[in-house]
Symmetry: C3
């Protein structure tokens, strides 16, 4: 541990609250990490190769970082994003130069979640106790690079060091899950790494290349026919394959959490129109909403937990998308609505004992107004943790303040890191635990719960709640 | 008073703030309770019979409680809800078993408003100083049950003990108000209990059984004819009857606070279509919006304060509604909009000196954005207190933070408990007073107001503000 | 400085936070004021005449003040608003009587931004250390009036005393900017006062008198022809004139920040329809949205920073508007949406290095959800400071809490006072500096940033950030 990290960080500025929060935090700080939703590439753990260099490790693939540098005026190609084929063929960045850009612009990250996580990672993994700057950039680069080659910095060593009890990845329904199988079969790796079924590109006719996706799905599933019935069967097959390979949840990223329930014949008709390219936008929306309800129906059979991540306008800059592809920092949240949108799904399956639907929203006004009340009645509904832009100290505190009055501490999902950045996993879970302890500490000092209640809740939020939410 | 209740609860975790808040709270803690909007059954006070048992008293009719237990997987029939005729005829719950469910699942209520209120009630009324649990459930049941039979626990004794200066009920326009008359005529009861005119089911053609409701209204009012003019006259008659029986306000619960002003002939035409069952949904919405404006017009004549409670999707689960009826925990808030929706009403009557419209919203983003600015200009508009899901410590604090910058302390409604749970009334008012004192304490410490200002405001929020808002 | 002003006001109630915040505040308290957006009348500085009396100075033109008094029941004519021609010809108020109304109702302003500012102004400019009241109203009036005649209270003396480095006004595109020219040419006045191009009334065919406005614009610009091409040329001419006279930004006040990009021919057609009065409302909206995009295009040429102020229903009470005109306290905020609305503009020009668009919102839910993510990717987008109803202590703190997690401290606009009330400028900037220091203090105590980072940020927020945002 390092001097730049205040051991009491995020435990509340008030001394009475901090004292209680510190005690609570000490009881959960070293508990194992349960990560039931994220985007780590499982092949990283299969290969178990050293990380290439500090820039690739911390910048190139972290669109939290690149977006703020892009806003400051740096081109994504300077930040390690490869221009796509058909682009102008700019070479990938020089890692040391990209690193210099980050360190020289460290002030941009002050107060952000990214800055907080990187500070934590630099200090705990590399013993860095300085604020990055133009002056020390090269030295920090060398410090980090020197350690990346060492055995304790290999992915599997970190997996053990991070004390990860379960790590879920996010996977294409046509993925053969060979990486997961390799890990499960490897006697030298004892970690639990499970896939997650993420079918967005197959459920919404408005998705890029939907027809080709569906054909690939039918082929992968080995289902004969090219109609709605075959399509449904293919999805069910692939879900079964994921379940057999350890999956505990399906994940659904949508612009809006719109659901509807179509008659079988209508759905079949719209499916044919979508294949033929003649479906109207309104009908495509209906079909996508129907398929979300179908996912709930399948969950009542196979038990996969549904996570719905709603409220993002993806690829807002078409120029950037054309040049650099998706996940390059220009996904922008929008207003969300759950009360009306989710009702058809809940009317159909909301009382089914096998169903769990976890609602993640980027529109925090929906936390207390819609999601907590839904989760406070329907046994199937749970409140997703603060996510993406909202997975940060102030917003994580607002999350507790928004939902606790209404739904207490036991209707949530547990913390979800949702990250591609493997090294950031401990920092993120630690942040969530600290914020929760600070909130609990305030409730104790404010006479709203007893210290004994707070002690139990602090542990439950880390262990019992995610295990129940994800049926672990 | 009891050890489980921190005497400084909700007064702020910061010691400087708490010290000021404590002084403010001491000056208002024992002031009488003014409850100008709620749902207590007046016949309870007429009959003045002992409460049946702890489960009936605290669980069966409190949908705040039953909904969280339902979310945990308990059926509503286990929680004392009677299945409606046509249902499966399940018997009502065994009260001791239901009580056991509550105590065994007490952790679900930690941090919620319900948990806070029950803790307050258990401690102050029954001397309970333990956290409920599976282990002590039976003992707590017996402790409470033993006292329910005693004279000091009869409704009228509690009414006096609670120091209730005024209690408003919520009543159907066709109600004969005999309970209110009985109380008013009873020389042994000195409390003031007034009815509230709640005409939702008669104003919106989309309401269940609207035609039958209208016919009953015409008959009750003794108005000849079955047309728009008779309908308006019948409503005016019933309002006059309520005024004569002490009513000070009419209450309007709506999905959206939509208002419009139709020409007389158009309104009459839509009324006939609604009676004939031929009205379109859009026209039904217009008619309902017109009738809300009509309520404002009538208020300019008879002086009833209008309270508009907006933004709920009622009976979200049709299965639960069919089995157990309304008010069973599955009313879910939605986004609200006031600036545009309310304009037709305000254009017509917003400057009338006789009109007061109090806007209650479950969409807290509207508090600062729309309601406070409206109340900060129109003399007729006031900001409704945090309500329902938002009547809780964190959200009550956000309410002050949202409206005070914009509209100060004198454009609100005063606290409204809005409750069916008679025993919770002191806990709720006490909570509101504490939160307000904590907010005022912070403003004093932060140099935004003087201590003298805070002292005056703390008292005014409890007495002068509700009296002015409800013309008491 | 005076005893009624707590020197630590707004620096946080927590003692640890306050101690850090105080140190930060001391380093920025005396820095010059940069005011790149506001509504001060430049002729006030040209004429440099004494202010007439306390009521005219503090009440008549401050719709923050008059609206709350109006809500309490006072007529605007009692508050110094002149009824417009065609009205009933009521005389302007007696200033001493209006002043008495303010002081007698001082409790209405407790906790409001207006109350805070006036307290600051009374104390720092007039040495008043008493809370205004009915009793001391006359004395305060005399105290203030006595000083208004003195040389140090003349506008130019105050400009110097306030340490204003730059003051931007807001001006009609047809304004000849003679006041600005007079100030620039005056060797005895060394302040920098720049105009701002505010073309709303010329861009939206739904604006009052749009046809007459366009004709005046064409005439003022000296452009031949009465068609879309001439109209565009006229706007470009007037922008060039403003740039030549020192303007750094154009300002756009809109109900919704809707943008679109029409084909030249379509725009020309809609322009002709608008002139002919035959344009549909939907097409008028399209044309206005197209012209907002055109403003961005022009900015890529002439470099004017665009400020977009979105989300107000102006002149909500048509009766008040008819009697007293605009800006009389009944502009009411509405929900806003930026992610979709702004996309056409950003698709067209969002990556242009010459473009800066600063987004101001009265819907604070958009700060973190939409604006900060947009500004965290697009180099052209910046997050406007809390504005109008939100330019107040609690909401200014929420602004930092909403945007910092997502976008840090360097994607904002810097503070904007946006005021007509010249005397309130120091109070407003001081408030913003204090709130920012309190937020930074909390981040330091909470271990999120170092004290060194906070010290740099505190200064940058006052100097570097607005200078970069407005290209000063």
């Amino acid at each position: 541990m390092n001097s730049i990290l205040n051991p009491d960080r995020l435990l509340g500025s008030d001394s009475a609250v901090r004292q209680v929060a510190r005690g609570l935090y000490e009881s959960v700080a070293k508990l194992p990490i349960i990560s039931p939703h994220g985007h780590v590439d499982p092949s990283m753990l299969v290969k178990n190769e050293p990380f290439a260099n500090p820039a690739e490790l911390f910048i190139y693939f972290d669109h939290y970082i690149t977006r703020l540098l892009h806003a400051e005026g740096f081109g994504l190609e300077q930040l390690g994003k490869q221009k796509l084929a058909g682009g102008t063929g700019v070479q990938a960045a020089n890692p040391r130069e990209t690193w210099q850009i980050l360190c020289s612009n460290w002030h941009l990250f002050a107060g952000t979640a990214s800055g907080y996580w990187l500070t934590h990672e630099f200090a705990t993994l590399f013993g860095i106790d300085q604020t990055p700057s133009a002056q020390n950039a090269d030295r920090l680069y060398d410090t980090i690079a020197a350690q990346l080659a060492k055995p304790h910095m290999l992915p599997r060593a970190l997996f053990a060091q991070f004390n990860i009890e379960l790590l879920a990845t996010t996977d294409d329904p046509c993925d053969d899950l060979s990486a997961h199988q390799a890990l499960a079969a490897d006697p030298t790796f004892s970690g639990r790494v499970v896939p997650t079924f993420r079918p967005d590109l197959y459920l919404d006719p408005r998705a890029n290349n939907w027809v080709a996706n569906v054909d690939r799905l039918l082929e992968t599933a080995g289902v004969a026919g090219r109609n709605y019935r075959a399509y449904i069967e293919a999805i069910e097959n692939r879900r079964a394959y994921f379940v057999a390979n350890g999956a505990v949840s399906s994940d659904h990223g949508v612009y809006e959490p719109f659901t509807t329930l179509l008659a079988q014949a209508t759905a079949a008709q719209l499916f044919d129109q979508a294949l033929a390219g003649t479906i109207t936008p309104a009908n495509a929306r209906s079909f996508a909403g129907h398929m979300l309800t179908e996912m709930a129906r399948m969950s009542t059979n196979d038990g996969l937990v549904m996570t719905i991540h709603a409220g993002v306008y993806r690829n807002h800059s078409s120029q950037t998308h054309a040049n650099f592809g998706p996940d390059t920092g220009h996904d922008i949240p929008v207003r969300a609505e759950f009360t009306n949108n989710l009702r058809p799904l809940l009317e159909a399956y909301g009382m089914h004992p096998n169903l769990t639907v976890i609602l993640f929203s980027l529109d925090e006004s929906t936390w207390g107004r819609e999601i907590a009340p839904l989760a406070g009645f329907y046994p199937s509904v749970r409140i997703g943790a603060p996510w993406w832009f909202l997975d940060a100290p102030d917003s994580a505190m607002r999350y507790r303040e928004a939902i606790t009055d209404v739904a207490g501490f036991y209707r949530g999902s547990g913390f979800i890191d949702d990250t591609r950045a493997f090294l950031s996993i401990p920092a993120r879970h630690d942040m969530a635990r600290r914020v929760d302890c600070a909130y609990l500490g305030r409730l104790v000092v404010d006479g709203r719960i007893t210290l004994e209640q707070a002690q139990q809740i602090a542990v439950d939020l880390v262990v019992a709640v995610p295990k129940k939410a994800f049926k672990l």
